[in-house]
C-alpha cells in the first residue's frame, strides 16, 4: 500500500517549517490528554454548556470513538480542541497534545498546530471544500503552509497524497473543482488534506455520515489503514454505534455534553452499563432482526433546559428519586470501563463488593 511508502517523504517535507519548536515532554505518555474541558456558548437565553467537564486520554495508534446524538456536544468538543469556536465562546480546561496545552496557546501558535500536529475531517464533504478553487490549489496551499516546498514540489506531493487516499486517476482529479467530484472522492480529498503533514492526531467529525453505505465502507477502511500504518491517534465522532464498532478501539458515550460511559469497544458493546448506552444498543436494528427494538422514550434534551441531576433521568427506565436531585459521578467500574449512573454503579458494587471504587 502507498501509505508506508509515503511516510518518510512526508516527514522530511514538514520537519523544518512550523515554528513550534520541538515537541515537549509527554512524548512517551498518552498522545492527547483532555482534562475537565468545558465549552459554553452564548445564546439568546444565556449561556449554554455544550461540553460539560469532559476528560479523557488518547494513545498513539488508537481510535477513540465518541458516540452521541444531536446536541450531545460531540462536535463542539472536537472544535474546541482545534480552537474553531467563535470568539464569544467560553472555554476552560486543558487539552494537552505532545506536552503543550492547546487551550492556553496564542491564536497564532494554534494556527501553526492546526494542520501539522492535529488535523480535522468534517462531516459533509459537499461543503467542506472551497468551491471556487481546484483540488490542487487547495492541497498545494496547505502543503506550502506547513513546509518550505516549492510550488512544483508541493504539486508533486499533492499527487502523492491523492494516491495515498486511493483516488482513481489522481492527475485528473488534481485539476478538478470540488463540484466535479463525487461525495466519496471529496471526502478522500478532505482526508488527504488532513494528512498533509502527518499529524499525530486526527479529528474526524462524522466523516461518513453523509456518504452512501458502500462508500462509507471504503472510507472506514481508509481510516483503519491510516491508524495502523501511520500510527496516528484518531478521535472518531459518530452517532452510529455500528460505525463506531467498526472503527473504534475505545468508546466514550456522550449525553447532553457529558461523558456518561467509556470503555473499550468490547466493554461498551458486550457489557454496557449506562441505561442510555443499553438503550442505544437495543434501538439499533441489527441485520436479520425480527423482534421489536426496545426504544428509548422521549427525545434528546435541549441543552438550554437540562433537568436537574442526571440529564438522562426523564428518559430513563431505571430512574430513581436521587437521579432527579444530583448528578452522578463518572465512576470507574473496571480497568478501562467507567459509567455515570447511580443505579449501574450500585448494582455493580452489590455484585462485587470488593471492586475498586472512585473515578
Amino acid at each position: 500500500m502507498a501509505l508506508t511508502a509515503a511516510r518518510p517523504a512526508a516527514e522530511t517535507a514538514m520537519a523544518p517549517a512550523d515554528g513550534l519548536g520541538p515537541a515537549g515532554a509527554g512524548e512517551s505518555g498518552p498522545l492527547l490528554q483532555v482534562r475537565d474541558l468545558v465549552t459554553e456558548f452564548k445564546t439568546r437565553d444565556g449561556w449554554l454548556t455544550a461540553v460539560n467537564h469532559v476528560s479523557y486520554e488518547l494513545h498513539r495508534g488508537r481510535v477513540l470513538g465518541i458516540l452521541g446524538e444531536s446536541g450531545s456536544g460531540k462536535s463542539a468538543m472536537l472544535r474546541t480542541i482545534l480552537g474553531l469556536q467563535p470568539k464569544s465562546t467560553r472555554i476552560s480546561g486543558e487539552v494537552i497534545l505532545r506536552g503543550r496545552d492547546l487551550i492556553a496557546m496564542t491564536p497564532r501558535e494554534r494556527e501553526d498546530v492546526r494542520g501539522s500536529w492535529v488535523s480535522m475531517v468534517f462531516q459533509d464533504p459537499m461543503t467542506a471544500l472551497d468551491p471556487v478553487f481546484t483540488v490542487e490549489q487547495q492541497l498545494v496551499e496547505t502543503i506550502r503552509r506547513h513546509s518550505t516546498l516549492s510550488k512544483a514540489a508541493a504539486a508533486e506531493r499533492a499527487l502523492e497524497l491523492l494516491e495515498m487516499v486511493q483516488i482513481p486517476s489522481p492527475e485528473r482529479r488534481l485539476k478538478a473543482y470540488p463540484f466535479e467530484l463525487s461525495g466519496g472522492m471529496r471526502q478522500r480529498v478532505v482526508i488527504a488534506m488532513a494528512l498533509v503533514s502527518n499529524p499525530s492526531l486526527l479529528l474526524a467529525d462524522e466523516p461518513t455520515t453523509a456518504l452512501d453505505v458502500t462508500v462509507q465502507a471504503r472510507v472506514l477502511e481508509l481510516f483503519r489503514d491510516l491508524k495502523t500504518k501511520m500510527g496516528m491517534g484518531i478521535i472518531f465522532v459518530t452517532h452510529d454505534l455500528a460505525v463506531a464498532a467498526d472503527i473504534a478501539d475505545d468508546i466514550a458515550v456522550m449525553y447532553a455534553g457529558r461523558i456518561v460511559e467509556y470503555g473499550r469497544l468490547e466493554d461498551i458493546v458486550r457489557n454496557p452499563q449506562h441505561p442510555y448506552t443499553k438503550g442505544l444498543l437495543e434501538a439499533n436494528i441489527r441485520p436479520g432482526q425480527t423482534e421489536r427494538p426496545e426504544a428509548i422514550p422521549g427525545a434528546p434534551p435541549n441543552l438550554a433546559k437540562l433537568p436537574p441531576g442526571c440529564a438522562f433521568a426523564p428518559r430513563c427506565s431505571k430512574v430513581e428519586a436521587t437521579c432527579w436531585e444530583s448528578l452522578p459521578t463518572l465512576d470507574s467500574i473496571g480497568l478501562s470501563h467507567g459509567v455515570r449512573c447511580f443505579v449501574a454503579t450500585r448494582e455493580i458494587q452489590n455484585a462485587m463488593p470488593v471492586a475498586a471504587k472512585g473515578a
Binding site: 482545534l82 492546526r114 501539522s116 468534517f122 472551497d130 468551491p131 471556487v132
Partner: protein
C-alpha cells in the same frame, strides 16, 4: 464558457428590445396629443395632417415602432424644436459629461463601499461593524439631492471652498478639475456606498459562516489566507450590485446634474421635461437604459469568470 457568454448575449437582445418598446410606448402613446407642442396654436387641420405624415404618425403602431427602432440604431433621434438642434448632437455632448461624472462616482462609490463592507464583514459585531451598518442605513435613507444642497450650503455658500456648479476639463489643471467633481461625486455616490457596503458586508459575513471556512482554519491557514478564500467566494453578489449601482448613478444623474449645473444627460432630461420636449426625454432614456443593460451584461460575463461551474460550462 464561450457558449454561455453567447447565451447570455442572446438573452440580452430581447431585453433590449423590450426596454426600447417600453420607452417608446410610454413616450409616444400615452400623452395626449404629440403634435400639440410642435404646431403653432392656429394650425389648420391640413397642417396637422401634413406634419403627422411627415413624422410618420399616420402609420400603424408596429410599423411606427420599427421605423423608430431603426432610427435609434442608426443614432437618428430626430430634431428638438425647443433647442433647435438635432437630438443626437445634443446627446453626444451631454453623454461625455455624464460618463465622466458617473464613472468617477462609480469608482469612488464602489471602492469606498467595498472597503467599508469588507471591514464590517471581517470584524462582525465590532465598533467598525456598527459604524458601517449605521452609516449604510443613513446612506440608504438620505436623498442625494438634499446631500447636494447641504454640500452646496457648506462648501460653496458658507466656506466658499468649492464652485457651486459647472464642469471643468483636465486642461485647466487637476485642482480645478477635481474641485468641480468633488461635490457631485460625493452626493451622487452616497447611496452606492451604502448599498455596496451593505451587500459586501452581508456576503462576507455569510461566506464566513460556510463550512469550508472551518476546513481552511483546520488546515492551519493564516487568517489573511482565509480571508482571500472568503473574498473570492463572496464576490458574486457584490459584482451584481455593482452593475445595479451604475443604474442608480445614471438614473440619479438627473438630480445631481440639475443641482450642480453639470451639462450632462440628466440636465438634458430635466430641461426637456420642463419643456415637455418628449422626444429628447425618449432619446435620453433609451440611451441610459441601453447603457444599463449592456453594463449588466458585462457584469454577468465578468461574474462567470469567478464561478468555476460556469467556467466549465456546466
Amino acid at each position: 464558457m464561450m457558449p454561455l457568454v453567447l447565451r447570455r448575449l442572446g438573452m440580452a437582445l430581447p431585453t433590449l428590445l423590450g426596454v426600447t418598446l417600453v420607452i417608446w410606448l410610454l413616450l409616444s402613446l400615452l400623452p395626449g396629443d404629440p403634435l400639440a407642442f410642435l404646431l403653432p396654436a392656429d394650425a389648420t387641420a391640413v397642417d396637422r395632417a401634413k406634419l403627422a405624415t411627415e413624422l410618420g404618425l399616420d402609420r400603424p403602431l408596429p410599423v411606427r415602432y420599427v421605423y423608430w427602432l431603426f432610427d435609434v440604431i442608426r443614432g437618428e433621434f430626430g430634431f428638438s424644436p425647443f433647442r433647435h438642434r438635432d437630438i443626437s448632437e445634443l446627446i453626444q455632448n451631454a453623454w461625455k459629461n455624464t460618463a465622466l461624472l458617473a464613472s468617477f462616482s462609480a469608482v469612488f462609490g464602489l471602492v469606498t463601499g467595498i472597503t467599508l463592507g469588507t471591514l464590517a464583514g471581517v470584524y462582525r459585531g465590532s465598533a467598525v461593524d456598527r459604524f458601517v451598518t449605521g452609516f449604510a442605513i443613513v446612506g440608504l435613507s438620505v436623498p442625494s439631492f438634499w446631500v447636494a444642497i447641504l454640500l452646496l450650503i457648506v462648501f460653496s455658500a458658507q466656506l466658499r471652498l468649492l464652485p457651486a456648479g459647472g464642469l471643468s476639463n483636465w486642461a485647466e489643471g487637476p485642482g480645478h478639475f477635481f474641485s468641480h467633481l468633488a461635490m457631485p461625486v460625493l452626493s451622487g455616490s452616497m447611496v452606492s456606498i451604502a448599498i455596496t457596503a451593505r451587500v459586501t458586508r452581508a456576503s462576507i459575513a455569510e461566506t464566513f459562516r460556510a463550512e469550508f471556512v472551518d476546513t481552511l482554519r483546520a488546515k492551519g491557514l493564516r487568517e489573511y489566507q482565509v480571508l482571500m478564500h472568503v473574498a473570492k467566494n463572496a464576490v458574486s453578489p457584490v459584482l451584481t450590485t455593482a452593475g445595479l449601482q451604475m443604474g442608480f448613478l445614471l438614473g440619479g444623474s438627473v438630480l445631481i446634474e440639475t443641482i450642480f449645473s453639470w451639462p450632462g444627460l440628466g440636465q438634458l432630461v430635466f430641461n426637456a421635461i420642463a419643456a415637455r420636449d418628449l422626444r429628447v426625454v425618449q432619446a435620453t432614456t433609451v440611451l441610459i437604459a441601453v447603457t444599463f443593460v449592456l453594463l449588466n451584461l458585462f457584469v454577468d460575463v465578468l461574474q462567470m469568470t469567478f464561478d468555476p461551474r460556469q467556467k466549465r460550462g456546466v
